[in-house]
C-alpha cells in the first residue's frame, strides 16, 4: 500500500471490485480497501441472480461460483395459494458469494489494483470543501492516503458520502431489515426458489427459500422499515423456520439491511463517487443488488479513470457516471420503487385475490408480466406511472 493513488475504492464487494477492475484496466493507479479481515465474508445476501444478467455484466460464469442452478420460481400468497411463475426458460443461479467476491477482487488485483483488507476508512482528507483522499486505520496503524478520486463502495452502512457533504441517509420506511439462515438437512426442490408473501410472514417484504444444493438453502426474510417495531425480523424468521423446517440444522445466521428505494439524487461530488448499496442502487422491488452494484461499479471505474487521465475530477465531469447509470438501470429502479410502494399497501386479501386471478390463467400465461397486469387492474394509476417512465425513455 502506497500513500498516493489516482483512485481509492472504499469497500471490496462486487461494486467495489468492478470499479477497481475497470479503473485499473483504464490505466489508473488503484487501491481497494476492505474493512473486514476477508473479502466476501460475512455473506449478507441471499446470493441469487439471473444467468442473463451475469453474462451481460461479466461476460463469464465460472462453475465454481455456482451453488445451485435455478429453473423454477414459485410465489406463495398469504392463504398458501401457490403461483408457478413461467420463467420463459430463463435460468438463474444461487452463488457462493464468498468465492465469487474473492474472484472479482482477484480480477481487480490482476488488472493492477492494490487490494488491502483490515483497512478501515474512518474519515476523508479534505482541502477546503474538496475530498483529496482517505484516512485509514490499517491493523491499528493510522495512515493518510491521497487520491484524485475516492469511490465509496462501502455498502449500506456507507458514511463516505456524508463526509463529502452528500445526503445519503436512508429513510426508515425505505429500509428493509433482513435476517437469513443457511439451513442444512431440509427437504426442498433444489431447482426452485420460493417467495412467501403476507403480513404474518414478512410485513411489507417477503420470505425466501434459495436452494444451495440438494438439502441446503438460504432461508430468510425482509420486513419493510414501514412496519418496524416490537416484532423483529429474527422473530418472524424463527417462526417461519419452525413451521417449514422444524428439523433443520442452522449453518449460518446473518442480519442485514437493504435500502429498497430509488437511487440517491446525488451520487457524485468533486473527486467522489458512490456505487452499489452506498448509492442506493438495489432493485427496490426484489432487493437484489449484486448485478446493479457491478453495473454501476463498471461505469464508475471507467469514468473515474478517464477523469483522472484528463486531469479533471470535478463533479460536473464525474456526472457522466450518474447519467449513464440512470439510463442503464436507474430509471428502471424508479419505476420499481413506485410499484413496490403500491404493493406495500396491499392487504393479505388483495394478495390472495391477485394469486387466484393469476392461477385462473392458463399456466403458460403466468408470467411476471401477467402478475403485474393483474396487480395493475387493482391500481390503474400505476399504469400512468409506468407509461410516464417508459415515455421518458
Amino acid at each position: 500500500m502506497k500513500n498516493e493513488y489516482d483512485i481509492v475504492v472504499v469497500g471490496g464487494g462486487p461494486a467495489g471490485s468492478m470499479a477497481a477492475l475497470k479503473a485499473a484496466e483504464n490505466g489508473a493507479s488503484v487501491l481497494m480497501l476492505e474493512k473486514d479481515r476477508e473479502i466476501g465474508v460475512p455473506v449478507r445476501c441471499a446470493e441469487g441472480l439471473s444467468d442473463k444478467g451475469l453474462q451481460l455484466v461479466l461476460g463469464q460464469v465460472e462453475p465454481r461460483w455456482i451453488a445451485q442452478k435455478i429453473t423454477k420460481v414459485q410465489l406463495v400468497a398469504p392463504d398458501n395459494t401457490v403461483v408457478d411463475v413461467m420463467t420463459g426458460g430463463q435460468m438463474g443461479y444461487i452463488l457462493h458469494r464468498k468465492l465469487f467476491d474473492y474472484d472479482l477482487a482477484a480480477m481487480a488485483g490482476e488488472a493492477g489494483a492494490d487490494v488491502v483488507t483490515r483497512a478501515y476508512v474512518y474519515d476523508v482528507i479534505r482541502e477546503g470543501d474538496k475530498v483529496k483522499g482517505v484516512k485509514v486505520d490499517h491493523l491499528g496503524r493510522k495512515t493518510d492516503i491521497s487520491a484524485k478520486v475516492v469511490i465509496g463502495a462501502d455498502g449500506v452502512e456507507s458514511r463516505l458520502g456524508r463526509w463529502a457533504g452528500m445526503k445519503t441517509l436512508t429513510k426508515m420506511k425505505d429500509m428493509d431489515t433482513c435476517v437469513q439462515m443457511t439451513l442444512a438437512d431440509i427437504d426442498i426442490d433444489p431447482g426452485t426458489i420460493i417467495l412467501f408473501f403476507g403480513h404474518q410472514v414478512a410485513p411489507g417484504g417477503y420470505a425466501w427459500i434459495f436452494p444451495k444444493g440438494e438439502k441446503k438453502a438460504n432461508v430468510g426474510l425482509g420486513v419493510s422499515g414501514a412496519y418496524s417495531g416490537e416484532v423483529k425480523p429474527l422473530a418472524y424468521l424463527e417462526k417461519f423456520v419452525d413451521e417449514k423446517f422444524p428439523k433443520a440444522k442452522v449453518l449460518t445466521l446473518v442480519a442485514g439491511g437493504v435500502p429498497c428505494v430509488d437511487t440517491l439524487d446525488r451520487i457524485v461530488a468533486d473527486g467522489v463517487m458512490l456505487v452499489g448499496d452506498a448509492a442506493h442502487q438495489v432493485n427496490p422491488m426484489t432487493g437484489g443488488g449484486i448485478l446493479n452494484g457491478m453495473i454501476a461499479g463498471k461505469i464508475a471505474g471507467q469514468v473515474a479513470a478517464e477523469a483522472v487521465r484528463k486531469n479533471n475530477v470535478s463533479e460536473k465531469k464525474l456526472r457522466k457516471y450518474s447519467s449513464e447509470w440512470h439510463k442503464k438501470e436507474g430509471r428502471n429502479n424508479e419505476l420499481s420503487y413506485r410499484i413496490q410502494q403500491v404493493v406495500n399497501t396491499f392487504s393479505d386479501e388483495d394478495l390472495n385475490k391477485i394469486a387466484h386471478t393469476v392461477n385462473d390463467l392458463p399456466s403458460e400465461k403466468r408470467t411476471i408480466f401477467q402478475i403485474f397486469k393483474t396487480a395493475l387492474l387493482k391500481h390503474p394509476k400505476l399504469i400512468l406511472d409506468i407509461a410516464k417512465v417508459i415515455g421518458s425513455g
Binding site: 456524508r162 426508515m172 417495531g229 425480523p233 445466521l253 442480519a255 442485514g256 439491511g257
Partner: protein, 61 residues
C-alpha cells in the same frame, strides 16, 4: 444528551450496519466487529432501536 443513552451489546450485535444507514446524526461507527455510539451526537431518535433486525440496541438511563 440528557441522562438516557443507547446501549449496544457487542455480544449480540451482528455488525450489519443497518443502524448506521438510518442514523440521522451520523453518531454510529461500525468497524469489523465493534460498534460505537457517539453519545455527544446521538439525538435519541430511536431509529437504530426500531430498525435493528435482531433487536440489539436498547435505551438505558
Amino acid at each position: 444528551m440528557a441522562d438516557r443513552t443507547i446501549y449496544i451489546d457487542n455480544e449480540r450485535c451482528d455488525f450489519c450496519g443497518t443502524c448506521v444507514a438510518v442514523c440521522p446524526a451520523d453518531a454510529i461507527e461500525l468497524k469489523e466487529s465493534t460498534i460505537l455510539i457517539n453519545s455527544e451526537k446521538c439525538t435519541l431518535c430511536l431509529n437504530c432501536v426500531n430498525v435493528c433486525p435482531l433487536g440489539v440496541p436498547e435505551v438505558r438511563s
